[in-house]
């Protein structure tokens, strides 16, 4: 029995920390094969590039922790920023007013998802598959698929730095910290994790499952629009590709960060940071090696596959651990 216990511990250890060794190996590999990989400039720009993804992934993490998915986040980012861009271009709104309205728009679009899921009781995946197409469609109609250039102030924001680090990186870090706090230390945050353990159980415990779900979709929508703003500011214009596919990368990132797709599991910090960082690390590293840009898609797919398998394997092994301790009672 002793020996068996130790095996379990080893498994636990691998699942808990094994991942960090993998990341470490990746870093070592790239830093040896690509000379400027570990340069300050590169690391700085690596974070710069991943800041929209960090923010969107945080929202996605909340949805996933409740045991659901929101695959419309990229389209929310697109539609809400389109509206912001149009407000500035056609109605002469100031960037700060536009900024605010974009965020409100994101919350609203998230609320639409939440409404359909909670009140019409449509499966979240189906719901957001619908809005994924619909929201982008509305955006394309509104802009007639033209690109809209940003005013200078906004573009300056996209490349502004504070203490040598890009402003949007600071923003992303602030978002991560605040949402980590919300997740770990507020009633709402704990109920998000509780929901992922099973809604029936939560109902019996008197948790307002509907409100928590609704709020979570709003939160994810809001964060998606914030991510969209940063992305738009970085590019300098509103493009039809903005946010496209970002939701799937976000799902991959958070699973890599140990947030289980089965719900109820994982943390914002370090989870989201680690996951997004890893994906960006590999993209950036392959870039430095001068690899075929299409190779990244393939590698990315492979990573997602491995991460998902590990997630499934983990919950299977957990089941085993449980039974063993049952017997020891």
């Amino acid at each position: 029995m002793r020996l068996f216990d130790r095996n379990i511990d080893l498994k636990d250890f691998i699942f808990k920390y094994g991942y960090f060794f993998v990341v470490l190996a990746v870093i070592v590999f790239f830093s040896l094969s690509a000379p400027h990989f570990l340069d300050y400039t590169n690391i700085n720009s690596l974070f710069h590039a991943s800041s929209p993804m960090l923010i969107v992934s945080t929202g996605m993490a909340f949805v996933v922790m409740t045991g659901k998915l929101d695959i419309s986040l990229g389209s929310i980012a697109y539609l809400s920023t389109c509206i912001g861009a149009l407000l500035m271009k056609d109605l002469g709104a100031t960037p700060s007013v536009a900024f605010l309205l974009v965020i409100i728009m994101g919350a609203l679009l998230g609320a639409i998802n939440g409404f359909i899921v909670v009140f019409l009781r449509v499966n979240p995946l189906i719901t957001t598959l619908g809005t994924l197409t619909a929201f982008r469609g509305i955006g394309l109609i509104l802009t007639q698929s033209y690109e809209i250039r940003m005013p200078t102030v906004v573009r300056a924001f996209g490349t502004a730095r504070f203490s040598g680090i890009f402003l949007d990186v600071w923003l992303a870090i602030a978002v991560l910290i605040v949402l980590h706090f919300i997740h770990r230390h507020t009633v709402y945050g704990r109920q998000v994790t509780a929901l992922g353990n099973g809604e029936e159980i939560c109902k019996r415990l008197g948790i307002r499952v509907e409100s928590v779900t609704f709020l979570t979709f709003i939160l994810a929508g809001t964060l998606a629009s914030l991510g969209g703003i940063i992305s738009m500011a970085q590019i300098g214009q509103s493009t039809t590709f903005l946010g496209k596919g970002i939701e799937f990368t976000a799902i991959a990132a958070i699973v890599l960060g140990g947030i289980s797709l089965f719900g109820g599991e994982g943390r914002i910090l370090p989870g989201v940071l680690v996951g997004v960082f890893t994906l960006e690390l590999i993209r950036n590293g392959l870039n430095h090696l001068g690899a075929n840009p299409y190779l990244y898609e393939f590698v990315n797919g492979g990573i997602i596959y491995v991460a998902m398998s590990a997630d499934a394997l983990k919950s299977r092994l957990r089941g085993l651990v449980l039974l063993v301790s049952d017997e020891d009672v």
Binding site: R190, Q191, G196, R204, V329
Partner: protein, 507 residues
């Protein structure tokens, strides 16, 4: 006479196809424990779920402390000081012990931040009171069943609750934990609170309850003070008049040829070196408490659960032949525990449900298509034979009553006609007459030569149906008895009070 603290008056509740509660009146007094008794499916859980706000009654009144209480949600119940310790535990496995206890009322600092320190302190105090040696920071997933039950009980003890509902709290507790719980309940009573205690263990009722209410088939058949009633009278009340007649002796089954031999069945942490044989036409009962491994054995035989090792031999032309679980699956039918979850296709018709396991056998000759005429006639035949009450064979299974649903599943297997049929809780949640009917079908099948492995939590049903009993305790096969063994012996051994070696009296 003092007035009851809690009064449930004329409570009615129907589920589609079954009347769960009719005109139920129950009263509980402060400083006393009320035992709520009844066979499985008698409506006691439904009644308590109404009190706990989990489901809504169709009609009826609840008054607490002489005031009408409207309980529409678990939140309302909590406001009225009702704490519910659920039988199937309402725990959040990925979260810590303290989070599980406080999930519906976290202590807050500055109205926003959860006060972890406060939470940890209170939680530790409750655990201490329960004599439970786990840390508030433990993840519930990593706990054993007994410890989990303690977390569930601990949650009820937090806060200012007045009415405590314990739904079979001791079934997964070890002896020390049980004693601790009893002393906690004594303390609750001393503090003038109301305890409602649901259990199957009658001795516990006499040990710590003041009053008893007995439910049968959704009706209250007795309210009494405990000193005014005997254990025999209680049992009679619970079981009622409809009783499957005692047979007097075991049927031929257990002395006939062996049809299946199981050896070396192991699954780490669940089953330990299980070996037994099954005779032709025998009803073999697997008896043990929840989690003893009885269901796992049944599922292992047909490969539904993974095993570390298993050796199966099956009689073919009078000789025992080695076979794999896959081969076993073709010869063994299994009726699983949760018919609505993994037994039936609820939205499909009776006919489709029945033919589901036998589709390959219904193929037209030299064709891939199903012989509809054969399907219809087989279905009609078994609806008739099993006396299934349906409007037509195209009726949706989900709209049938529990007993008829169960018969559809049995009919499904009769079409296949396996030589071995495993039945896991075939009468759970059925009313008394449906139970008796299923029991008759089981006996008839055995008489026709089908070997049956029966699992049931109801000892009386097991006693009257089984020719032989295998008793399990924590994954070990600890007893093998033939018909005629006393009820007390079976219950005692399964609960681990007596130690017996395999073959105690059977062989």
């Amino acid at each position: 006479m003092e007035t009851p603290y809690l009064k449930m008056k004329s409570v009615e509740k129907s589920f589609p196809g079954v009347k769960a509660l009719s005109n139920v009146n129950v009263e509980a007094y402060a400083g006393e424990a009320l035992a709520l008794l009844g066979a499985n499916g008698s409506g006691k859980s439904t009644l308590m779920n109404i009190l706990g706000g989990v489901i809504a009654a169709d009609s009826g009144k609840i008054s607490i402390n002489e005031r009408i209480a409207s309980i529409k949600s678990p939140m309302d119940a909590a406001i009225h000081g009702i704490a519910f310790v659920h039988q199937e535990m309402a725990l959040l496995p990925t979260m810590t012990v303290m989070e599980n206890m406080f999930i519906s009322h976290f202590p807050l600092k500055a109205k926003l931040k959860i006060d972890r320190k406060e939470m940890r302190n209170q939680c530790a105090k409750v655990l201490e009171r329960l004599g439970c040696h786990i840390s508030p920071e433990n993840i519930v997933r990593d706990l054993g069943t007994g410890e989990r039950q303690m977390v569930e009980i601990g949650r009820a003890l937090l806060g200012n609750n007045k009415i405590f509902i314990f739904d079979e709290p001791t079934s997964s507790l070890c002896k020390q934990e049980k004693e601790k719980l009893i002393s906690v309940i004594e303390k609750l009573k001393k503090d003038g609170l109301v305890v409602i205690y649901i259990t199957h263990f009658l001795n516990e009722v006499f040990e710590m309850c003041e009053r008893v209410s007995v439910l049968r088939g959704g009706e209250v058949v007795g309210n009494s003070r405990i000193e005014d009633i005997s254990m025999d009278a209680l049992v009679r009340m619970m079981v009622g008049d409809i009783h499957i007649e005692d047979r007097g002796s075991a049927r031929e089954g257990s002395r006939s040829e062996v049809i299946l031999e199981v050896k070396n069945l192991n699954r780490k942490g669940v089953l330990k070196n299980i070996a037994f044989s099954l005779h032709k036409g025998e009803i073999l009962g697997l008896w043990g408490l929840l989690g003893s491994g009885r269901t796992e054995i049944a599922r292992s035989l047909v490969g539904l659960d993974p095993v570390d090792s298993i050796a199966l031999r099956y009689a073919e032309n009078g000789e025992l032949v080695r076979m794999t679980q896959d081969m076993a699956r073709k010869r063994i039918g299994i009726i699983t525990e949760e018919r609505r979850v993994d037994g039936l296709f609820l939205s499909m018709s009776v006919k489709r449900n029945m033919s589901m396991a036998f589709l390959p056998g219904m193929k037209k000759k030299n064709s891939a298509s199903v012989d509809i005429a054969l399907e219809d006639s087989l279905c009609d035949q078994f609806i008739d034979r099993l006396n299934i009450k349906v409007s037509s064979k195209d009726q949706t299974v989900g709209t049938l009553s529990g007993g008829n649903q169960q018969k559809v599943i049995i009919g499904r297997w009769l079409e296949v006609n396996p030589s071995i049929l495993i039945m896991d809780e075939p009468t759970r949640g059925l009313d008394v007459s449906a139970k008796a009917e299923i029991a008759r079908i089981i006996v008839r099948l055995a008489e026709e030569g089908t070997s049956i492995i029966l699992i049931s939590s109801e000892i009386d049903e097991m006693m009257s149906l089984c020719d032989r009993f295998l008793v399990l305790n924590k994954g070990n096969l600890i007893g093998d008895f033939t018909y005629g063994v006393s009820k007390e012996k079976l219950v005692g051994i399964a609960a681990g009070s007596e130690s017996v070696h395999v073959g105690g009296n059977g062989k």
